[in-house]
């Protein structure tokens, strides 16, 4: 066991999977010699060479489109898009091909690729470097959409994503990259995709979060206990699609109250799906309207104001208290 940041944990997963399986290749802009702009792919090129750790020209659609071809040929490409805000240049390759090849060929071909990308705010970056638009991918049949919340889940989920036979969009919350360390075992560890985790138990209210929002949500839960004597259950979704309905629906059947937290814009965002599934699965248990504590439906501001935009402990607390008092 070693204490690792999320960057180190991801790097560890890549090293380990590449050692184990020579069909795993890494590609993207600056992933090789430079080791990735966040250093997630650091050192890979030294160990595995430039045929396996591929510095590509600057073209997102090509990164995804060639990954699809490689994957059909039997490789397991792990592509990187430098920031999720640039993944839209490859959107058609994801929607129209990665997500459809298995279906289109009726199982004849499949696309075991992972597309990693840093997403979300909090690092004082330029425009397009702070967006959270996981809903685009979650709404796309044929894709899986995964977002870890810390070093350990990041490592374990990346391992599962690489081993998954279908295309996985893997969002990495960049504000968590180096924010804290966790114990990460040396041996390979994976976690099933499509499974949420109850990370804090409680019977009074359910707080549902993922990615960088997990930590402020946990902090809010602690403050609810300390300041209000309220026991909040906190659920880390981990996979946005396929969404693990059972875990949160069950929790809300117990608590009767729920708040869903994300950085993404509220309207047509991931929270809406969580709310809808709760209405479908746990309606008769609801004691209050489910709250969405989310980003606003605007472009995330330039960094001088991003902390005001991002949901933080206070906003989550307020949402929870309103729900508790409703």
């Amino acid at each position: 066991m070693a204490k690792m940041t999320m960057v180190q944990a991801l790097n560890h997963a890549l090293h380990q999977q590449m050692r184990k399986d020579d069909s795993v290749v890494v590609l993207g802009e600056d992933v090789g010699v430079d080791g990735g702009v966040f250093r997630v792919t650091d050192g890979l090129i030294d160990e595995f060479g430039k045929e396996r750790v591929i510095d590509t020209p600057l073209a997102e659609s090509a990164i995804v489109g060639t990954s699809i071809g490689m994957a059909i040929y039997g490789l397991k490409p792990v592509g990187e898009i430098q920031f999720s805000g640039f993944s839209y240049l490859a959107f058609h390759q994801l929607e129209s091909h990665a997500a459809r090849m298995r279906w289109r060929s009726q199982g004849g071909y499949h696309v075991p690729m992972v597309l990693r990308m840093p997403y979300a705010g909090g690092v004082r970056a330029l425009e397009h470097h702070s967006e959270s638009r996981e809903a685009y991918y979650a709404h796309t049949p044929g894709l899986k959409m995964v977002i870890p919340s810390g070093p350990r889940t990041a490592r374990a989920l990346l391992v599962s994503a690489i081993q998954d036979p279908d295309p996985v969009i893997f969002f990495e919350p960049k504000s968590v990259y180096r924010a804290f360390r966790e114990e990460v075992p040396e041996e390979e560890e994976s976690m099933p995709l499509g499974q949420a985790q109850v990370v804090r138990e409680g019977g009074d209210i359910t707080l549902i979060a993922y990615g960088a929002m997990l930590r402020p949500t946990l902090e809010a839960a602690q403050r609810l206990e300390d300041e209000d004597g309220v026991q909040a259950e906190v659920i880390d979704l981990l996979t946005i699609s396929p969404l693990d309905t059972d875990t949160f629906a069950e929790s809300v059947r117990k608590t009767g109250r729920a708040v869903v937290v994300h950085e993404a814009p509220r309207s047509f965002g991931p929270g809406a799906e969580v709310v809808s599934r709760l209405v479908e699965k746990s309606f008769w248990y609801l004691e209050a309207p489910i709250q969405r504590v989310t980003g606003f439906d605007i472009i995330i501001p330039m960094f001088a104001y991003e902390q005001v935009y991002l949901p933080g402990v206070e906003r989550i607390l307020r949402g929870a208290r309103e729900t508790l008092n409703a």
Binding site: A59, S67, G69, M70, I72, S105, Q106, G108, G142, P242
Partner: protein, 367 residues
């Protein structure tokens, strides 16, 4: 401190071997075994006849929209004839001829245009990707396949087809650029059939040829008479050999003409003249090749008649088989939930069950 012209190492060539009357340029005539020549002819003819039949089926409402190949037979069969079976072929949506040469069945193609999910199944061992509808996007898949071949040290080649219109898409550009940089074994075959629905080639791009776009990627480009199967075959063979031996990618522009509708939803009289079409009828790739074969003593009128009959029967069988299959499959709508993922996630199992109950209820109320 000059102002000077830059010399480029690559240049662009034009190749034609059989003229429009079927006379061969003896200096350029390739040495192709007789059987292979007969096979080329057979598949061009089959492609033509199958196309005609599909058009009738569509007009009768028995299949949906499809993209006829009439006039482009040499542009697609010449190139794939240069491939080995274990090479890969990545089509757009107007390559029925190439698909059949490469081992796909007419039944499969009919089923596709009949609107059945099940058409996606590729016969065992056939290295063709399925039809790609979004124009130009498939080019990148060929580059990825090529990367895989190179990575694995397999001496294979990926050949991809696309139209003149496709050269305007960003993915065409990104694909050729990647192939150039990584020197992947890919042959890019552009079927320049002069039209992208109603947009003429001249309005698609201001470059004089499409072949010269290769210069932007530091790769060789060649323009060939796409209605001359000897030329398309020779150009492709050179490109395939270069790719296979590590020499990198090539762009081939086959200059041909779409003589039929764009798809069966299209009315070409809105945008082009009958004279233009008639002009290209005179350059028919099949008649021209038949003249060549006849000159070589490889095809007699009687042989041709027999071949036509054989093909007719083959197509009729395929149509019959497919129509039976379509009837069988008509009730199998639940297949729509299959092959979405290796394993159906819980929420999709629920939705599938939802639909199954709905269909059962309907069945019940009908019965």
């Amino acid at each position: 401190m000059p102002r000077e012209k830059i010399d480029l190492p690559h240049h662009v060539e034009y190749l034609s071997i059989l003229d429009k009357d079927g006379n061969v340029d003896q200096d350029l005539e390739p040495d192709i075994p007789d059987d292979q020549l007969r096979k080329l002819h057979r598949y061009m003819l089959l492609g033509r006849r199958f196309d005609e039949r599909m058009l009738r089926l569509q007009r009768q409402g028995r299949i949906g929209t499809f993209a006829p190949i009439k006039g482009q037979e040499a542009s697609q069969i010449g190139p794939v004839a240069a491939l080995r079976e274990d090479d890969w072929m990545v089509p757009a949506f107007r390559e029925a001829g190439a698909m059949i040469w490469r081992g796909q069945s007419m039944e499969g193609i009919l089923l596709l245009y009949g609107g059945f999910n099940q058409a996606g199944e590729m016969p065992e061992g056939i290295n063709n990707l399925p039809v790609a509808v979004p124009v130009g996007t498939q080019v990148l898949h060929a580059v990825g396949l090529g990367y895989g071949m190179k990575y694995r040290g397999d001496d294979r080649v990926a050949m991809t087809f696309f139209g003149d219109g496709a050269t305007s898409e960003g993915d065409f550009h990104e694909g050729l650029n990647f192939a150039g940089v990584f020197q992947t074994p890919v042959v890019f075959v552009c079927q320049n059939n002069h039209w992208a629905i109603s947009i003429p080639r001249s309005h698609q791009t201001r470059s004089e040829t499409l072949a010269q776009k290769a210069l932007a990627y530091g790769m060789p480009g060649i323009q060939v008479d796409g209605n001359d199967i000897l030329a398309t075959y020779v150009a492709a063979t050179e490109a395939v050999e270069r790719a296979r031996s590590g020499g990198g990618p090539t762009l081939i522009e086959c200059v041909t003409y779409r003589r039929s509708v764009h798809t069966t939803a299209d009315d070409p009289t809105r945008y082009r003249t009958d004279e233009e079409v008639a002009e290209w009828e005179e350059r028919d790739p099949i008649t021209r090749f038949q003249k060549y074969l006849k000159d070589k003593g490889l095809l007699s009128d009687q042989e041709l008649e027999e071949l036509e009959e054989e093909i007719d029967t083959e197509i009729r069988d395929a149509v019959e088989k497919t129509e039976k299959r379509m009837e069988e499959l008509a009730g199998e709508a639940m297949v729509m939930f299959e092959h979405m993922y290796a394993e159906l996630p819980p929420y999709l199992r629920e939705q599938r069950d939802e639909l199954a109950r709905e269909l059962a209820a309907k069945e019940g109320s009908n019965g």
